[in-house]
C-alpha cells in the first residue's frame, strides 16, 4: 500500500487550524470587496438625495450655476400633443456654464461629461414624477432664431464655452390639477446621487 502523505507534524497541524479559523473572517471580507463596486454604482448611478433650491436662488451643480426663471402652463404651444385633462407646463432654467474647473475639481472634467444624461423633470407632493414630453418640432417654444434656448440634452452636446449664459427650456405634459403645485427637478451624471429640486415662487 503506497502512502504518499506522511502523518502531519505539530507545526503543520497548527497552521491548518489557523487557516480554518481565518475563514470566517476572510469570506465576508472577500464578499465585501466584490460587492463594493456594486454598492458604489448603486449610490452613484441614480438620483436619490434631493437638494432643495429656494425660490429665485442660484445653485451650483455640475460645475454650472442654475436658476429657475419660469414655470408657466402653455398648452397653446402645441395643442395637438396635449391630452384631455392635461396641460403643457414649460420650465425655464437659466444656466451660467462653469469653467469646468470650479466646483467639482475632477481634473479637467469637461462640460459634456458633467452634463451627461441631463434630466429635467417635475415632481408633485406625493412623489409622482413626469419626464420631459417628446414634442418634436415646436417653434412656439424653441424659436429657430434663439440658439440659446434649447433642451438640456441638446445644450449638453453643443460644446458651450465657459461662462456662457443659456436657457434650458423643457416642456411637460402633466394633469391640469397638479400643474400649479409641481416642482422642477434637475439631475446630471456628474452629480449623482444628488439632484436639485427647485422651489416655485
Amino acid at each position: 500500500m503506497a502512502q504518499i502523505s506522511q502523518p502531519a507534524g505539530a507545526g503543520e497541524r497548527r497552521w491548518r487550524r489557523r487557516a480554518l479559523l481565518t475563514l470566517p473572517l476572510l469570506l465576508p471580507l472577500a464578499a465585501a470587496a466584490l460587492g463594493a463596486n456594486h454598492l458604489y454604482w448603486l449610490w452613484h448611478g441614480s438620483h436619490i438625495v434631493a437638494r432643495e433650491v429656494a425660490a429665485g436662488e442660484t445653485a451650483v451643480f455640475g460645475g454650472s450655476e442654475w436658476t429657475l426663471t419660469g414655470l408657466v402652463a402653455r398648452p397653446e404651444a402645441k395643442p395637438a400633443a396635449v391630452p384631455p385633462g392635461f396641460t403643457l407646463l414649460v420650465a425655464d432654467l437659466s444656466v451660467k456654464v462653469g469653467s469646468a474647473h470650479n466646483a467639482l475639481k475632477v481634473g479637467d472634467t469637461t462640460f459634456e461629461q458633467l452634463w451627461g444624461a441631463c434630466q429635467v423633470g417635475v415632481v408633485d407632493g406625493q412623489g409622482r414624477r413626469w419626464s420631459a414630453a417628446k414634442l418634436g418640432y415646436t417653434p412656439a417654444l424653441y424659436p429657430a432664431r434663439q440658439r440659446d434656448i434649447a433642451t438640456c440634452g441638446s445644450h449638453s452636446l453643443s460644446k458651450q464655452p465657459p461662462e456662457a449664459v443659456l436657457t434650458v427650456r423643457e416642456a411637460f405634459l402633466v394633469p391640469r390639477d397638479v400643474a400649479p403645485s409641481v416642482r422642477p427637478t434637475l439631475s446630471l451624471d456628474g452629480e449623482q446621487p444628488y439632484y436639485l429640486v427647485f422651489q416655485r415662487r
Binding site: 500500500m1 503506497a2 502512502q3 504518499i4 506522511q6
Partner: protein, 197 residues
C-alpha cells in the same frame, strides 16, 4: 511496496502526478479538437421536413427574381428567393431565422443576411415573429451578385442552434453554437416562373 519518504521520493511523487496531469490535459484538448473538426453536412431530402433546434423546416421552392418580389424592391440586379414552411418548435415567439439557411454559392462574397417576408394575406410583413407551433410560409430573399448567372440548381446548408439554460456571460437562457444540420439541393427556377401558389 515502497514508502515515499525523503526528499527524493517526494520529488518522484510530484513528478509522477505532474506527468499524469499533463497527459490528461493533452488527451482532453485532443478530444476537444477532434470534436470541433467540421464534419461534412449530411445530405437531406428537400421534400421532407427538417428538424433544427428551433425550427421545423420544409423547403418549398427556390427561384430567382428581378425588379420586385413579395413587396421588396430590388435595387439592382436579381435576387435569390427560397420559400419554406417554418414551424417554431420552441416555447416562445421568435424571429431567430436569419442564419437558418445558407446558399452555398451564387451570392456576392459578403453574403448579407436575407430579407425574410411572411407569405400570408399578401401583407408581406418583414422579419415576422413566428409563434410557437404555428406554421407559416416565408420567403428568404438574398440579393445576388451583379452579373451572376442564376444556377440551375443550388445547395443550401441548414443551420441548427443548441439550447443552453445558462449562457456563459450573464447566465441567461438562449440558443447558441450554430452548426450545420445538413444540406439539401433545390432546382432554381428562372424569373417569372418561380413560386408555389
Amino acid at each position: 511496496m515502497t514508502e515515499f519518504s525523503g526528499l527524493g521520493q517526494r520529488l518522484k511523487g510530484w513528478l509522477l502526478g505532474g506527468v499524469g496531469a499533463a497527459i490528461a490535459v493533452i488527451v482532453g484538448i485532443g478530444l476537444a479538437i477532434l470534436g470541433t473538426k467540421p464534419k461534412p453536412p449530411a445530405t437531406l431530402d428537400a421534400r421532407q421536413s427538417i428538424a433544427t433546434g428551433q425550427w421545423l423546416v420544409r423547403p418549398l421552392a427556390a427561384y430567382t427574381a428581378a425588379g420586385a418580389v413579395h413587396g421588396i424592391q430590388l435595387k439592382d440586379g436579381r435576387a435569390l428567393v427560397l420559400e419554406a414552411q417554418l414551424v417554431n418548435r420552441t416555447a416562445e415567439t421568435s424571429s431567430d431565422y436569419g442564419t437558418l439557411f445558407k446558399p452555398e454559392t451564387g451570392l456576392d462574397g459578403k453574403r448579407p443576411r436575407p430579407t425574410v417576408v411572411l407569405l400570408r394575406d399578401g401583407v408581406g410583413g418583414r422579419s415576422p415573429g413566428l409563434h410557437p407551433g404555428l406554421g407559416e410560409r416565408v420567403a428568404f430573399i438574398w440579393p445576388m451578385a451583379k452579373g451572376q448567372e442564376p444556377p440551375a440548381s443550388l445547395a443550401f446548408v441548414v443551420n441548427s442552434k443548441r439550447y443552453k439554460a445558462m449562457d456563459n456571460l450573464k447566465g441567461l437562457p438562449g440558443w447558441f453554437n450554430e452548426q450545420p444540420a445538413g444540406r439539401f439541393t433545390l432546382a432554381v427556377a428562372p424569373p417569372g416562373r418561380g413560386g408555389v401558389d
